[in-house]
Symmetry: C2
Subunit: 431 residues, 2 copies
């Protein structure tokens, strides 16, 4: 019966969600880690490459991984599975809620620092990645090395947001700088991608085209942000007010964010960048709290799916074969971001050593944009399946290590600020 | 760039949702109809068979309709599109919330009446449908006539729930009887399907198999309901309590409902029947309100998608060619349900004439199960594409006319009960 297909889809969806939730719960309760770590690990565990492979059902296996088997048919990532669609909608809902929760004025106040952090955090990993690639993969040539460098540039907004949310630091000073940095370096990453693709296709390097792509993308993004900042009264009156009576106003806001997520792709940005700015646009409205109350459950329901699904793409076996270069790239990806972001945060943002270190650590997780770049390299035949596996490994490992690295420093910061708060209050007591 | 595919999916998803919301708003505000009518009409309007066809983009057209073009390749409904997946999850969320909102004790109190209503509402449309099919399509033979009769049997739980919700009558006496009836006739419909498929495949009619399918399906369903009714304390303690601390308890409840939706398919039930019983199971728990508060936004976000998507499958042009039999079947589908349910509601439920008429009218909408049966008939070559189009027309028209028919009677009932309430209160004034 053809309806079997639907039933199995429902099953796959339910199983992935329940595994993600269990993983999240275990991580929070027993490992004292953010839930997102547990969701990713749950994904790795139930992946068809691990215990999921015991399920002898081709339908479920196909639904659960990018085009069936990423490891075996890595080149076919231009296909898609239903589960990816849901995971795309999930990450849009996540970024929308993150945008809504952002303090827009603080976001703009830290704009310059964040941009500097982004640039520092792009230059170092890109150059180091290029050099490491040159050493380990001499055969793939300049274009290949450029691709690998590009893979290391962009911090994952989605993952960074979840880690900061789980740790309750999304709207801290460092959290805001990290977010600005993550948004800006995503834009830079996509500009680099278009340049590298240009080089791969024509053999020529076009500065003009690169600058144009970057300016248009950044301009559209900034334009949307400013519309929200200065036009929020009109957004409330003409877009949100009419839907208040039917109680669907928050849902409408999320739908609008989905449309914005698409619109920004027309100027070469990733949908998550648009979903985030969609949230930012509404963050100044009076309706913010109500929208948050009704859209947060949607995000809580869907977002574990995205992270578990990310984990499910990991096949540890082929990565083992390229463990040397993988480790080298993970090290330069991590240190490159920490150091590359530390100094701009310190100089441009006048952060303390501790604050600048937190910013650097928070910028470490790589994700969607890096994987997109690696995917494009793969389909262009510039990098092979093994190297693609390395890119996946970089993404997963940087995500997994970040919360553990961040935690002690956040703790130390809390302790210091408590100390700082105790002093003035004791002064007040004396007065 | 292969990511184009994702971007267009996001666009399609956003466009369908925004059209559905607009349609719902127009229906409520200007047509004074339930939002669901507007969502369905919005779907018909943006369908690739109507203005959606102006979008000259094969990707979007493929995403938006069942396997690209239902009208042209009707036989391929055993494929699926990403949009269908989302619409399946949407209807599960809807039925889960409906189950949660149901007064379980009232549901059981009206169980006998509802079952009688279901049986009356199956026998009449089935026999009339068989006769009409015999008259209009003499060439398709007994099995074909059986299929068309079967298509008319099952009331759509999803649509009935939405109509009752939109009208604020979900937990009224009549609303409860309608719900029980819709659940039971879905089970009967699926039993009839398995019998008819048996006849189509083997040419034999197996009473034993039919009774077995029915008993197992109904038994599992009732068992789950009773577990919820008598075991809700244990469900709270062992399933819900542990997830309260992380704030994900409501989400977990919905995930469990998704898994139950799959489990019931193993005994031949439709996932929506399982999602509804999943909600019923939790309706007696103390956590009910909290779960409702957090899952209702998820339902509000997703469910318009399901109804718009249903509307998008309608191609009015081929239906025009079979307008005669379509109208005849719509008439017997409507009158058959009204009359077939009126008498059981009156006799078994001791309802007033008005109450029994409301029950009959509420049972009119056909949907998912009827379309599944028609689809199976199509893939078995028992009915052709034109007749499949007729089945779609029956489903859409019965859905569209129901709210309009119900409204005046609900209004009269409200007026009468107000009158009844005024009298005792005036008596109290005198005392």
């Amino acid at each position: 019966m053809e309806t079997d297909l639907y039933f199995k889809l429902i099953l796959t969806f339910g199983l992935v969600l329940i595994a993600a939730r269990m993983g999240g719960e275990v991580a929070e309760r027993y490992l004292k880690q953010p839930a997102v770590v547990g969701e990713l690990l749950a994904g790795i565990v139930i992946s068809p490459f691990a215990i999921g492979g015991l399920i002898n059902d081709p339908v479920i296996l196909t639904f659960a991984t990018i085009n069936g088997q990423l490891a075996q048919t890595g080149a076919q990532i231009n296909g898609f599975t239903p589960m990816e669609i849901v995971s795309q909608i999930a990450v849009i809902a996540l970024l929308f809620v993150a945008g809504l929760e952002t303090d827009v004025r603080a976001f703009i106040r830290h704009g310059f620092t964040g941009a500097m952090v982004a640039i520092g955090g792009v230059i170092l990993p890109f150059s180091l990645g290029y050099l490491v690639a040159m050493y380990f993969f001499p055969g793939i040539g300049t274009v290949g090395w450029l691709f690998i460098g590009a893979v290391l540039t962009a911090t994952s907004i989605g993952i960074t947001v979840r880690i900061l949310m789980d740790m309750g630091r999304l709207s801290s000073r460092e959290g805001t700088i990290i977010l600005v940095g993550a948004v800006v370096d995503d834009i830079i990453g996509l500009v680099i991608l278009s340049v590298v693709v240009g080089v791969a296709e024509t053999g020529e390097f076009s500065v003009v085209a690169a600058i144009r792509t970057g300016l248009i993308g950044f301009g559209v993004w900034l334009g949307l942000l400013l519309i929200g900042l200065y036009g929020h009264k009109y957004i409330s009156r003409y877009l949100l007010e009419p839907f208040k009576k039917s109680g669907t106003m928050p849902v409408l806001a999320l739908i609008v964010a989905i449309l914005i997520a698409y619109v920004v792709t027309l100027v070469g940005l990733h949908p998550v960048v648009g979903a985030y700015v969609g949230g930012l646009m509404l963050a100044s409205t009076l309706e913010r709290e109500e929208i948050l109350n009704k859209t947060r459950p949607i995000m809580l329901f869907l977002s574990p799916f995205f992270f578990a699904y990310l984990g499910m793409q990991v096949d540890l076996v082929p990565i083992w074969a390229v463990i040397g270069p993988a480790l080298a790239l993970i090290v330069v990806a991590t240190l490159g971001k920490i150091i590359g972001c530390f100094f701009p945060a310190k100089w441009a943002g006048k952060a303390s050593n501790l604050g600048a270190l937190i910013v650097g650590l928070g910028m470490v997780p790589r994700g969607e944009v890096g994987l997109i770049i690696a995917g494009v390299g793969l389909t262009h035949g510039v990098i092979n399946r093994d190297i693609f596996g390395v890119a996946v490994a970089v993404s997963i490992i940087t995500v997994l290590i970040t919360p553990t690295m961040l935690k002690p420093f956040f703790k130390r910061q809390s302790a210091e600020s408590e100390k700082a708060e105790t002093k003035p209050s004791s002064l007040q007591d004396q007065s």
